[in-house]
Amino acid sequence: MFEAILLTVITASTPLVIAALGELVAERAGVLNLGVEGMMIMGAVCAFAAAQLSGSPYIGILAGIVGGGLFSLLFGFLTLTLVANQVATGLALTILGLGLSGQLGEAFVGLPGIKLQPIVIPLLSDIPFFGRVLFSQDLIFYLSVALVVGINWFLFRSRRGLKIRAIGDNHASAHALGINVIGARYLAVMFGGACAGLAGAQLSLVYTPQWVENMSAGRGWIALALVVFASWRPWRVLAGGYLFGAVGIGQLHAQILAQNLGIVIPSQFLSALPYAATIVVLIIISHNRRTTLINTPASLGKPFVPDR
């Protein structure tokens, strides 16, 4: 049973982790995009529609990534080219995304979905327990792990990653050093959008292979909170996403266990557990003021216009 529960947790946590990783890169570049929920739902509808039309969930994944990425360009144009306020633009992007996806998806409501099938990795999947949990998963799960490793390497081990962090910490100095701040931020925003789109694709192709309006149901907001929770570190995003997912699934099992034992606990209290747990863990890990400050991108949310 433990194995089955773990598989459920992985499915529930993967979209949170992927969307949060994308947002992490955008925020490391100094851009606060609160439109994750909107980009995620756009990714979900694009992925579902493309999978339906082509018959292939892989085309669906691609469409989700492209859909989320293109949608984020709208945010990029407003906040980077026209230096509009990032917080408000992000929220407006969510409103627009929820409306637009509902409109686009109208024709696809109620169609049976196409589920992305797992890719069983030979040999590795034979390992007891871990083989089935970690090496018999779908492509998007593998991508989520690759993204954690890749982004961690990129941000902290590569030249371009260093530039991204420099831009996020002090865009004026970065510009003075000859780094193309706006260009890099466009790429970071689009990467964030693409990740949110991929997370959306996971919703409509893996988690619950179907399309219904508003199916992201607030997961974009949780992803945003996870970036803060992780103090802008990729590995902590992974940990935070899985913590949140695990407590969420755990509370459902706790309900059944309580029934078996005859204990009365209001289900609302159990439902509130993931949120409370996130706060408590953050309190425990954020007591060290210095490490938090080091990781927080100092230019986050601030507009930048190059001097000419």
């Binding site: 529960i5 459920t8 409501v109 049976p112 619950t208 179907q210 149901a217 459902l252 059944i256 609302q268």
Partner: protein, 357 residues
């Protein structure tokens, strides 16, 4: 900005008056207000299908505008008032949470008729209507008891309101009529609509050993999970067979259309009056989706029960029934008042969940 708006208002008022004037027509307006999206695949979609049937049936005489995704807070009152003002002769408010707003607006517009779904407050121009969903749940319970190998079913519930509690009880009573030891596990999703969470709840129940699933939430996600895990399940609100061709045993399908046609016709005939209607299987306000994925004897049993409920021979809540703690609730042969059912906040014997009081 103000000046421009006024200027625009003046010029547009002329144009607008012209345009709407040209479109004016004699059709009676029958309006609908939905709490969710009309394509939610569940509760609201069932009402939307009913509205479409109504429009089709009386197309020459009526039009049926609607508002969707109206939250159950202060927005509801405004939305309903807007309908009354825009010339709706009859307004169907299709969610419990619209109850007080409906009553308030109805007081202001005595000439407009209102019908509120699933509530208990009425007025001379406010009727209420509801469906005896529990009749379908009872049949489901019987089927579950026949089909389950482990004798345990899982129930994905939304919120602890009487409607849901009544459904859980009816399911358990049906199951116990076949297998007195049948057990029911309940998981509260605390949402009507979140495909992900509903799927998680379904997986949790299956992992905890149930081999049949029923749901009182709106999306087909639990049905999909059941299909994937190879167990059987029941659909909710609409026929979910597309999500589980080899999984769905039957579904309680909300078929409001006939009711909407009946009431609108009464309005057109001038015979509409405020009633508190609680229709059941026999009236066609709910129907059972085809009995599938079960052997013929189980199907025959289900059909027989359905016929008995329709004829009035069988009432799912017929004593002797004990409460969860074993104390007697109904004596042998006794049937509860409708009011007791509508306010049900306790479980019958056999349900494992505990309701916080």
């Amino acid at each position: 900005m103000k000046k421009l708006i006024i200027a625009l208002a003046a010029s547009a008022a002329l144009l607008g008056g012209f345009v709407t004037g040209a479109e004016a027509q004699e059709k009676t307006k029958v309006c609908f207000i939905y709490v969710g999206s009309r394509t939610d695949g569940g509760w609201t979609q069932a009402h939307e299908i009913g509205r479409q049937e109504l429009q089709k049936a009386l197309d020459a005489k009526i039009e049926t505008p609607f508002l969707e995704n109206v939250p159950e807070g202060p927005d509801a009152e405004r939305a309903i008032e807007r309908m009354a003002r825009s010339g709706c002769a009859l307004v169907f408010t299709t969610s419990f949470g619209f109850m007080d707003a409906t009553i308030k607006v109805a007081q202001k517009f005595p000439d407009v008729k209102f019908e509120h779904a699933t509530g208990f407050k009425a007025a001379p121009n406010v009727a209420t209507y509801n469906s005896r969903f529990y009749e379908g749940r009872y049949i489901q319970g019987q089927i579950a008891a026949k089909m389950s190998k482990k004798g345990v079913a899982g129930y994905i519930a939304s919120f602890p309101i009487p409607e849901v509690v009544m459904g859980i009880n009816a399911f358990e009573l049906g199951a116990k009529s076949v297998n007195p030891d049948f057990k029911l596990k309940v998981v509260w999703a605390n949402t009507w609509f979140d495909p992900g969470k509903e799927a998680d709840a379904a997986k949790a129940l299956i992992d905890q050993g149930v081999d049949i699933l029923t749901q009182h939430t709106d999306t087909t996600a639990p049905m999909q999970v059941a299909a994937e895990r190879g167990i059987l399940a029941f659909g909710q609100a609409s026929d979910m067979i597309a999500a589980g061709p080899k999984t769905q045993l039957t579904a309680i399908v909300d078929t409001w259309g006939a009711y909407y046609i009946k009431r609108t016709q009464a309005l057109l005939d001038g015979t509409w009056k405020s009633e508190q209607i609680w229709d059941g299987l026999k009236d066609g306000i709910l129907t059972m989706a085809p009995y599938t994925n079960m052997p013929d004897d189980v199907k025959a049993m289900a059909e027989e029960t359905e016929a008995k409920i329709k004829s009035g021979e069988l009432h799912p809540f017929t004593g002797p029934i004990n409460r969860q703690d074993g104390t007697p609730w109904l004596a042998a042969g006794e049937k509860p008042q409708d009011g007791v059912l509508l306010g049900m906040n306790f479980y019958v014997e056999g349900v494992d969940d505990k309701l916080p009081q």
